[in-house]
């Protein structure tokens, strides 16, 4: 595929978009793990939710 | 009515007695104007052309300087609690406070304009046009800024964040303020069109400002 004289601009656009999306996904995934780990730690320390269910119970 | 008049009177009295606000605002305004010749060099024509822009920028930034304590001061000493509880609708009380603030801090800027116009080599028409647009536009700045000032109660301090929140919202006022002044000075567009939009913006802000501020105050207390 020949993209002409501006290949680098086009590539940068696509790569930047990919990078930003990957960063967003990574942030969300890491955040999810962090919160889960905290909930687990809290649960181990014996804290119970008002509904009486386990902290990590998200179903 | 007594209630609102009392509020306006109190706020103006405090502003004048403590001083800070109005004077610092005017001084900052002056600083901006004095600085410009050094920035653009000794080119009088250019300076004149930039005159309205400089004055408007100065006014916008000066109003930010004084706004951030509008509600936080009352919040910290407990007055805000009583104002929220009173039989006066909070929206009206907010509008009264903004009006008092404009009288104490915005009006001095309008009054100072003719003096500063001299420094910028503006002629009488131009000065008059700028002063008129400032008179019509600075209330809008105050009423928009009031929203940020009310948010500052929840945030527990204003400062730079308040400026960041408020400045983008006041861009339209700046645009039409400068445009109307330019139109009066160099043409070719008529002064009326941008000026009436400026007035319309002010009117819109008179409605939105108090409502938004009252909402965020009601929710911001604790």
């Amino acid at each position: 595929m020949d993209l002409g004289p501006y290949t680098s601009f086009i590539a940068t656009s696509y790569l930047a978009a990919a990078l930003v999306v990957v960063l967003l996904i990574a942030w969300i995934a890491i955040d999810y793990r962090t919160q889960k780990a905290r909930l687990r730690a809290l649960e181990e320390s014996g804290i119970v939710r008002r509904s009486g269910r386990a902290a990590t119970d998200i179903q | 009515m007594t209630a609102l008049a009392a509020l306006i009177r109190r706020d103006i009295r405090i502003a004048l007695r403590i001083g800070g606000g109005a004077l610092i605002g005017v001084l900052f305004f002056l600083t901006v104007v004095v600085l410009m010749p050094f920035a653009v060099g000794p080119d009088l024509a250019l300076l004149t052309r930039l005159g309205p822009a400089i004055l408007w920028l100065g006014a916008l930034l000066a109003s930010l300087l004084t706004l951030d304590r509008l509600f936080t001061a009352d919040h910290e000493d407990g007055s805000l609690d009583l104002i929220v509880m009173s039989r006066t609708p909070l929206e009206l009380a907010c509008a009264a406070k903004a009006l008092a603030h404009w009288l104490a801090a915005g009006l001095p800027l309008v009054i100072a304009t003719p003096v500063l116009g001299l420094l910028l080599n503006l002629d009488a028409t131009a000065t008059g046009a700028v002063a008129l647009t400032l008179l019509a536009g600075t209330p809008a700045l105050t009423f928009i800024g009031m929203i940020g000032a009310a948010l500052a109660v929840t945030m527990s301090r204003g400062g730079l964040l308040l400026a960041v929140l408020v400045l983008p919202l006041s861009i339209p006022v700046l645009i039409f303020g400068v445009a109307a002044s330019q139109a009066a000075i160099v043409g070719p567009l008529p002064f009326g069109a941008p000026f009436s939009i400026l007035c319309a913006l002010s009117l819109v802000s008179f409605v939105i400002g108090p409502f938004a501020a009252a909402t965020s105050l009601r929710n911001g207390l604790d």
Partner: protein, 203 residues
């Protein structure tokens, strides 16, 4: 014949900063009665007063006054006297009180010098409020309750900073208010000097 006004709360729940302070609280007071809210530090006395004053939103339950002017909300019929005294140091004692009288009262007010005399700071009438001692500031705040008549007084540790004579004076003022058919809800750690019904929060 109209019933005497009655303040009541029902199943009130309070959450602050994501934390439950109390729940299932019920209380009531009829005209002429004072309710003393007690409890350890952090139990939620101030929070309850602020809920009644409409300055906090209840997470559940209702608070209302029945038998009084129907079109007014509870906060609009109440005076709130908190830890912070709503005084501007730059204004004089007279200006401070006159402002609140005008702002809250809208006409139906008692003359300023009278109110100041009743709380014992008439001599300081033209002093800036910033010059007052802690007890004098508190007295000035109390004067607000006299300047504008309101059915319900919400008082948060009102006797703090008052000297012995001041506490007696204040007990007298409260007695008068109750005798006139008023209602008082006061958070306190010590005796108020009047007959009260007690509401204890937190174990």
């Amino acid at each position: 014949m109209q019933l005497a006004p009655r303040l009541f709360g029902h199943d009130v729940r309070c959450v602050r900063g994501g934390r439950e302070v109390f729940a299932g609280l019920a209380f009531e007071a009829v005209a002429g009665e004072a309710l003393a809210v007690t409890g350890h530090n952090g139990a939620g006395k101030t929070s309850l007063l602020r809920l009644i004053a409409g300055l906090l939103l209840p997470a559940g339950g209702t608070i209302a006054i029945e038998g009084s002017e129907a079109e007014l909300t509870v906060p609009e019929q109440a005076h709130y006297l908190g830890h912070r005294d709503a005084l501007k140091p730059a204004l004089s004692v007279r200006e401070n009180l006159a402002f609140w009288a005008d702002f809250l009262g809208g006409g139906t007010t008692r003359p300023i010098p009278d109110c100041l005399a009743a709380v014992g700071i008439a001599h300081a009438i033209d002093l800036p409020a910033g010059y007052l001692s802690a007890g004098q500031r508190r007295r000035l705040s109390l004067a607000r309750l006299l300047a504008v008549p309101r059915l319900l007084w919400l008082l948060d540790e009102p006797t703090a900073a008052l000297d012995v004579a001041g506490q007696a004076m204040f007990a007298g003022l409260m007695r008068e208010h109750l005798a006139g058919g008023g209602l008082i809800v006061a958070a306190t750690h010590g005796p108020l000097g009047i007959d009260t019904r007690e509401l204890r929060i937190g174990a």
